[in-house]
């Protein structure tokens, strides 16, 4: 499976006091002359989550679900302006983290976009599992309801962090939090293998995760109705 096939992604040291949140949509400006959309028709959270042709960062994708990169930029929880822009994972409660890229309203939905392949959720049924895979699953469900054909994502597990860094205008990509780089090694592991294991385990558990997430949503509704 094509997840991380660039060997130079295998080993990096970690650390450094960077900013606690990213500030790029991960794609910067195109260096190859593709269209760099400044006013996209649909704002979405990440690669493979676009609903229409021509709705990725460069405006060149042929089909729903095939776009490269987020079309909007926000750095973290509560800083997004619109529905469907929350990257999710990292901050937010179980219910919120069950809806990556599918928040209902501005300023909802957790965390930075785009969602790198290595990101895992920190709360709820998806805790410790891939955020992008869940976001893609929810996106596919939304498209199925709308009778839309969805093409494959350029990267089947979401954009790898190293790839995002390689296309970012300033060569940087990071996401929220103080706990450090999600893709790295202290010298005793391969970060690519760690990521691949996490992604594969998440893929295997995805059906159960979605079922559990629906329960969380129902519980939340019930709790909310019972109170005040």
């Amino acid at each position: 499976m094509y997840i991380f096939n660039n060997t130079h992604f295998l080993y990096d040291s970690c650390g450094g006091r960077g900013s606690s949140c990213g500030s790029s949509n991960g794609c910067g400006s195109s260096s190859k002359g593709e269209k760099d959309i400044t006013t996209p028709l649909e704002l979405h959270a990440c690669m493979g989550l676009n609903a229409c042709k021509g709705h990725d960062r460069f405006g060149t994708n042929a089909c729903a679900g095939q776009g490269f990169c987020a079309t909007q930029t926000h750095v973290c929880h509560t800083l997004n302006n619109c529905r469907g822009q929350g990257g999710c994972g990292l901050y937010g409660d179980a219910s919120e983290q069950c809806r990556p890229g599918a928040n209902d309203c501005a300023w909802q939905g957790s965390c930075a976009t785009p969602i790198q392949a290595e990101r895992f959720s920190t709360q709820g049924p998806n805790a410790g599992k891939s955020t992008w895979l869940l976001a893609r699953k929810l996106f596919e469900e939304r498209m199925a309801k709308a009778n839309r054909t969805v093409g494959p994502s350029p990267f089947p597990s979401g954009p790898p962090q190293k790839w995002l860094q390689s296309v970012a205008a300033n060569g940087e990509y990071d996401s929220c939090g103080n706990s450090g780089d999600k893709y790295c090694s202290f010298g005793y592991n391969s970060p690519a293998k760690n990521a691949e294991e996490m992604i594969e385990a998440s893929r295997e558990a995805l059906k159960d995760t979605c079922t559990e997430c629906k329960k969380v949503e129902e519980d939340e509704k019930r709790e909310s109705q019972a109170q005040q």
């Binding site: 970690c14 450094g16 929880h77 920190t122 090694s185 010298g187 109170q227």
Partner: protein
């Protein structure tokens, strides 16, 4: 700590919570929780959770060569020791942050109890005003400082969260020679708990509270995880470690109080289990493996605050020995009274050598108990003042949440409190610790957030004052320019509810 204006309940003549003193007691409980927050946060921000490993290896290699190791030995050891630092620094940070999150939960739980019983909780301007501070009503008193990560700071954390009664100050290193009067936070809360079950209490669930199911509380975030040696994420709070509780009656009020005690000190182990829950009888820290009942819930998944700090302390001791040994030195367990049981004491003496061998690699050189006035650099002073104002505004917004219901409360919490904590205050603290200043003693220190209450003037809205403070700070230090929009986006909360221009509505306009 010494913030409460009234005499602390347990230092007064009252030892039982009753109808007359309950309003004071529950407010005192809220203030105990508030008082711990700046202490833990200060230490948290003294830690560089993610040092640059390449730089660490370089520095360690140089130190090891200077200590007489061969190039090959130094290279191998530097890799290993650098990984130790990467894991320990991040783990210490994650564990402290996991406690801070629960302290904020406890503030909300005790506020919910107060709101449902005697009314509006007071949260603004309750931060300790002088340092060292003291837990209100705690017998014996012990000094609490805002200080960097060290044996002393961690020992203080253990005293705060201790499930056992503490020895009188000055007798810590001795077995108790005489009986003394003392108590614990848990005992104080158990007094409140008893009263909550009495027929005297009337409950008002219709008053606004911070309730579960709205996303206000989450026990794990990316800041409460760390990565182990194989760089696999480890979560420090269990999924079911606790949540907000909607206080509607005696049962829910008691459940809220029990949650506070269990998360802080841990639950009482079964009689005869042989497990210890707190400090050793002689006041030393118990680092013996398997001798601690470390959970704060009966299901056994969640570690108590006390045990989390116990782990950070014992690991600090372990690494001090390891690093000193690697540099060709052996550290005597200064003050160690029982080496065979691996009990360690005299944090102050351990700290004398700690920095030389271990913490210098990842703990910032921040001052002890600073105030903004101590900062000689105008830029540092302005950024620190803005930081204090945001910190204070968070308590103002929290208090206001208890006056708002429904969507207005939700917006205030999510786009005011949440945003301020993670994306403004956290960023400012990170910026501050990256700044330095020359103190009056002539030495250079990293600046640090002082977590002092900023007293807003009544002549204009607190938010407009925040914007003025930001404009002044960004003029002196443009590294915080990216925070301008976030501050402008905050809700406009008045100092007093009667100053609210549009009753019940929030304004977000800058």
């Amino acid at each position: 700590m010494n913030a409460p204006s009234k005499a602390p309940l347990l230092l007064g003549n009252d030892s039982v919570v009753n109808k007359e003193n309950f309003p004071q007691a529950i407010q005192q409980a809220i203030e105990i929780e508030i008082a711990t927050i700046p202490v833990y946060l200060y230490t948290y921000y003294s830690i560089n959770r993610n040092p640059n490993q390449d730089e660490l290896i370089e520095q360690l290699t140089a130190d090891l060569l200077a200590a007489g190791k061969t190039k090959e030995e130094a290279s191998t050891l530097a890799q290993e020791l650098s990984a130790d630092i990467m894991v320990y620094a991040n783990r210490a940070g994650a564990l402290i942050m996991s406690v801070v999150i629960e302290e904020m939960l406890h503030m909300a739980l005790s506020s919910n109890i107060k709101q449902a019983t005697v009314g509006q909780p007071e949260l603004l301007y309750k931060t300790p005003t002088s340092w060292p501070a003291y837990l209100p009503g705690h017998i014996p008193e012990f000094p609490i400082n805002r200080s960097k990560l060290s044996f002393r700071s961690l020992y203080t954390f253990l005293q705060i969260e201790s499930p056992d009664k503490l020895k009188e100050p000055g007798t810590e290193m001795l077995l108790a020679a005489k009986p003394i009067e003392y108590t614990t936070i848990g005992e104080f809360y158990s007094q409140i708990e008893k009263y909550l079950g009495s027929a005297d209490v009337e409950y008002h669930p219709e008053r606004p509270q911070l309730i579960p199911g709205k996303g206000y509380y989450t026990n794990n975030t990316i800041d409460t995880i760390y990565y182990n040696r194989e760089h696999k994420p480890v979560f420090t709070n269990a999924e079911d470690s606790g949540d907000l509780i909607y206080v509607t009656d005696a049962e829910s009020a008691i459940a809220a109080m029990q949650e506070i005690v269990e998360q802080g000190e841990g639950h009482t182990p079964e009689p005869g289990s042989g497990l210890t829950t707190g400090l050793n009888a002689n006041g030393t820290v118990n680092c013996a493996p398997g001798n601690i009942d470390d959970t704060d819930d009966p299901s056994g998944d969640e570690e108590s605050h006390f045990f989390k700090f116990n782990q950070v302390y014992c690991d600090l001791h372990k690494y001090l020995h390891k690093f000193a040994h690697a540099m060709g030195k052996e550290v005597c367990d200064v003050g160690d009274q029982d080496a065979s049981a691996k009990t360690y004491f005299d944090p102050a003496k351990l700290d004398e050598i700690n920095d030389e061998f271990f913490t210098k690699y990842f703990v910032l050189n921040v001052p002890e108990n600073p105030s903004v006035a101590d900062y000689t650099s105008p830029a540092v002073q302005k950024v620190a003042t803005l930081t204090n104002a945001i910190y204070t505004y968070i308590f103002l917004m929290s208090e206001d949440c208890y006056r708002r219901k429904g969507h207005t409360q939700y917006e205030l919490f999510m786009f005011g409190i949440h945003k301020s904590m993670i994306f403004i205050l956290n960023s400012l603290c990170g910026e501050l610790t990256g700044m330095s200043y020359v103190a009056k003693d002539g030495k250079t220190y990293n600046a640090a957030p002082t977590f002092e209450d900023y007293h807003f003037a009544t002549s204009s809205s607190p938010k407009s004052q925040l914007i003025e403070l930001f404009n002044s700070a960004v003029g002196a230090y443009d590294g915080i320019a990216y925070l301008g929009q976030r501050i402008h986006d905050l809700p406009d909360v008045p100092l007093e509810p009667y100053l609210d221009k549009e009753k019940g509505k929030l304004s977000f306009a800058g």
